[in-house]
């Protein structure tokens, strides 16, 4: 094989490989970090159950603890380092929700504690709450309609 051929082959090889591999690598990182964060949650949840708390309260405590940790990690500028590595792995768990509150609030701190921090906290969390709460209300209403139907049928 002469050098030109090798180079051409190599180029082809790179072209074939490069669009795919970052996604695969990112997915792997997201899987590991996301799974790890959920496992921390699971250990906390098992501990709450071990102490005799019920399921609903346990999962609330898990959310609160994970939010607390990620809010302060964001405040200390550590979370964005994890986020850069993990991508969706730290975005999708509830940690990403807490991060999405703190990071814009930090950025607009210079605009004051009310309209800076207080308002910008909700640039991402606001839409999440709007759509989440609206969806839950619709689910409740739809459930009510189906439920009354079943009651009148019986």
């Amino acid at each position: 094989m002469n050098p030109l051929d090798t180079k051409k082959d190599y180029q082809e090889y790179v072209n074939k490989k490069s669009p795919n591999s970052p996604t695969l690598k990112n997915c792997f990182k997201a899987f590991i970090v996301g799974g790890f964060i959920c496992s921390i949650g699971q250990v906390i949840m098992e501990y709450c159950k071990y102490r005799g708390l019920d399921k609903t309260l346990s999962s609330t405590i898990v959310s609160i603890i994970l939010i607390l940790i990620s809010a302060f990690l964001t405040g200390l500028n550590l979370f964005n380092k994890i986020g850069k590595f993990a991508g969706a792995g730290s975005l999708v768990p509830i940690t990403g929700f807490a991060n999405s509150i703190v990071s814009p609030a930090m950025e607009y701190k210079s605009e004051g504690y009310v309209m800076g921090v207080g308002a910008k906290m909700f640039t991402v969390a606001g839409p999440v709450l709007v759509f989440g709460i609206s969806a839950s209300i619709l689910v409740g209403i739809i459930y009510l309609i189906f439920n009354t139907q079943s009651i009148t049928l019986v």
């Binding site: 990112n26 997201a30 609330t60 768990p93 929700f97 207080g118 209300i137 689910v139 409740g140």
Partner: protein, 128 residues
């Protein structure tokens, strides 16, 4: 230490795998579409609420525990589950009270700790 001896390792493994897989879905949305992180979070919450309303998400929670509740889809599921619970108790008004009641801990913690953490943070003057 008795707690760690009794830890359900099988459950932990299932939690890791399911939680990781949900994050892979998020990663694929980031890499393959032009959706912003905010939109992805909205999609996850809404999807969780719909799946929760259908009662499907609860099966995943039973299977994977925190692997299903910790991702933001679990937050949507909690909202929907709470709404359904209150609807059965109080009727129509329950659709408005139930969701936030069930997710109150998470929302309050996010607002409170979010504000405190922002106050104590040292903003780094680095524009991306």
């Amino acid at each position: 230490m008795e707690f760690f001896q009794n830890l359900n390792w099988m459950m932990l493994l299932k939690c890791f795998i399911v939680g990781g897989l949900i994050c892979i879905i998020g990663q694929l949305l980031i890499d393959k579409t032009k959706l912003t992180p905010a939109r992805i979070l909205v999609i996850f919450v809404t999807t969780g609420a719909i799946l929760g309303g259908l009662g499907w998400y609860e099966k995943l929670v039973e299977f994977a525990g925190a692997g299903a509740t910790v991702p933001l889809t679990g937050f949507g599921n909690t909202l929907a589950k709470g709404a359904i619970e209150d609807v059965t108790k109080f009727g129509l008004v329950g659709a408005f009270t139930g969701g936030i009641k069930a997710a109150a801990g998470g929302i309050a913690a996010a607002v409170f700790f979010g504000y405190i953490a922002s106050l104590i943070s040292k903003p780094k003057m680095k524009k991306q």
